[in-house]
């Protein structure tokens, strides 16, 4: 059975989902989030070609995303001014990909000569270099303001002019699907397999005929291609590109997406991109401490679930395959575990919010709204309440976690028994 054809139902399901999502979430805000998700799914998967597939930790991968964005913005503007011949706007990710690819080939030639820490350091260096350039090379980057462009250029085949956000959404959705399939395909090619081999044991790869630098370079260049495609779609979505797109912060965000989603599974970065885009758009409106929470999520994943969200899900695959009933026996302990964790988090978040409010707000008004309730941060009562809630939550967790562990071990033992018998 072939890896690609076996997965075609999944791709068809994804295509259907992409097609109907705008009908389910109809607001402009939701559509915007969906478009962002598509862009970041491509970017996070591209990033994982390096981190998860090739074992290269980059702190500067946003430069291919962002630079391709700048090139795309200039390209579209020049086309609009008819200074350049017309290139179909629907194929703009190919242009962005090419820009990313070229940047990736040049930078990758230098940075992939070494793996590990050296590679990570070089990537950080290039990231800072390009970020600094945005303020120096004003003609190209236009400093902190960035570049505006108008995506409504050229002919309008079948009325497709990208005047409305829904058309842009479908542009992103189609390219997102194509890029996902292409990147999945790549993992199944000789290049993809050798990329994994270099990640796992670069020394041995040299003695079976492969130049490890060449494998890393190729992975880097292809990854930059997809990052560039994502960058050009980002510009199509916002009609603007700013210095933050090439910044180290953006590189960090895509690292978070890939890692929190799970670098060990193809689907991981997809989950990460979806989750973090949602949190980024919703939580950032609710709380100023959003980055703190994102950091905490990252730390918790690194410490307790290095396989990310996909790792947690896939951990249950053998159980599901053995017997869905075994999986069902985990549901109740999980609910207890999650509920008690939520209680503890509720208290903790309350305290963080109050602390944040007190350290960042300089008005005389000491009351703020937490969970929709107005609390006075200068009063001792809310502090006591949140401390007690946290304490109770932690206490309850200490009751529920052993139960989860116990049920998990029971299920695993059950599976082992079945395998023996």
């Amino acid at each position: 059975m072939n890896g690609m054809t076996k997965n075609s139902p999944i791709w068809i399901a994804a295509a259907v989902l992409f097609a109907i999502l705008p009908f389910i979430f109809q607001s402009g805000f939701a559509l915007n989030i969906l478009s962002q998700m598509g862009v970041f799914i491509i970017f996070a998967l591209a990033y994982n070609m390096l981190l998860g597939q090739g074992g290269m930790l980059s702190f500067g991968h946003a430069i291919y995303f962002g630079l391709a964005g700048y090139f795309t913005a200039h390209f579209i503007t020049l086309m609009g001014e008819e200074a350049l011949p017309y290139f179909p706007i629907s194929l703009i990710p190919l242009f962005g990909g090419l820009a990313g690819l070229i940047c990736g080939i040049v930078v990758g030639y230098v940075s992939t000569r070494r793996a590990g820490t050296t590679f990570a350091m070089i990537s950080l260096g290039f990231g800072e270099l390009v970020t600094a350039s945005t303020l120096i090379l004003i003609a190209f980057f236009n400093g902190e303001e960035g570049i505006q462009t108008d995506r409504w250029v050229g002919p309008e085949p079948f009325g497709i002019n990208y005047g409305s956000d829904i058309q842009v959404y479908y542009l992103i959705a189609i390219w997102c699907l194509l890029c996902m399939i292409a990147m999945f395909f790549l993992t199944k090619t000789p290049f993809g397999r050798m990329s994994n081999a270099v990640r796992d044991n670069a020394e041995r790869v040299q003695f079976i005929g492969y130049n490890t630098q060449r494998v890393r370079w190729l992975a880097f260049a292809l990854s930059s291609f997809f990052a560039g495609a994502a960058g050009s779609l980002h510009v199509m979505n916002y009609e603007h590109v700013g210095f933050e797109t090439v910044s180290v912060a953006q590189s960090g965000l895509v690292l978070f997406m890939a890692y929190i989603g799970g670098v060990g599974h193809f689907i991981g970065p997809v989950l990460g991109a979806i989750l973090i885009t949602i949190l980024n758009s919703t939580l950032s409106d609710l709380t100023e401490a959003w980055f703190l929470y994102l950091g905490l999520i990252f730390v918790v994943i690194v410490l307790f679930s290095p396989g990310g969200l996909a790792g947690i899900v896939m951990m249950h695959e053998p159980i599901w395959k053995t017997s869905p009933r075994l999986l069902a026996s985990l549901v109740v302990p999980y609910i207890y575990g999650i509920a008690t964790t939520l209680v503890a988090l509720c208290g903790l978040i309350g305290m963080i919010e109050m602390l944040y409010y007190r350290s960042t707000t300089f008005s005389a008004d000491t009351s703020t709204s937490i969970y929709g309730v107005t609390v006075d941060t200068a009063s001792v009562v809310p502090w006591l309440v949140f401390i007690v809630v946290t304490g109770v939550g932690v206490y309850l967790c200490r009751m529920s976690y052993p139960g989860m562990a116990h049920s998990w071990n029971a299920v695993i033992n059950d599976i082992k028994q079945r395998m023996v018998s």
């Binding site: 890896g3 000789p190 290049f191 020394e203 040299q206 190729l218």
Partner: protein, 249 residues
Amino acid sequence: MTTALQLKDVAKSFGNTQIIRDVDLDIAHGELHAMIGPNGAGKSTLFNLISGKYHVSGGTISFYDSEITNKEPYEISRMGLGRSFQVTNIFPRMSVYENLRCGVLWSTGHRYSFWHLVNRQRDVNERTEEVLEMIGLTGRRDVPAGMLSYSDQRALEIGITIAGDPKMIMLDEPTAGMSHSETEQAVALIRKVSKGKTLVMVEHDMGVVFDLADKISVLVYGEIIASDAPQNIRNNAAVQEAYLGTEQH
């Protein structure tokens, strides 16, 4: 008679320490050549020089009449020299089958292809199955290599080495750490995979060496003090003094 491997005045120093001193060695095509010597004599270093892991400090190495001195390991590998490692050196997270397939890919000409699906390549699959069968791990095909038993990992190590169908195989202590029966199996495997090929191996087990080898070289303090047929090595006074003799004390 074709010369498979020729070393001329090969020397290697690490800092001021000379590990290999002006080694000359000729290995004929089809020969089963064993390299013995006390610990620290430089056997593994010599392996690393030949296979390109280290650069020589002096001298030349040629492989089937092409000079390979200081070439990169992958270039030497592509010319048809396969080597194994003393410490098992596999891809632990990949399955047994995938490990072997990695070894097959270059030799079947797929190189860095990112436009072919690897499991659709009939030549790759056939060769991988063949090697899997040869090393006797067909039943463990989908097991992650890191979860194999030690002796199975050693067999896989040899499998990866021969997967690309090299002209010459270099095995670094293939039976190290094995029980008696495991060693017997390993010897049978080595005999099978080296059929029609040139074999060079470092080995400490004298039983294995005298059983397998057509010719034995004795390396002591970075110098080859004798290179001859097994019975002559056994009777060589210098060898007895320098190497075999020390074991009898």
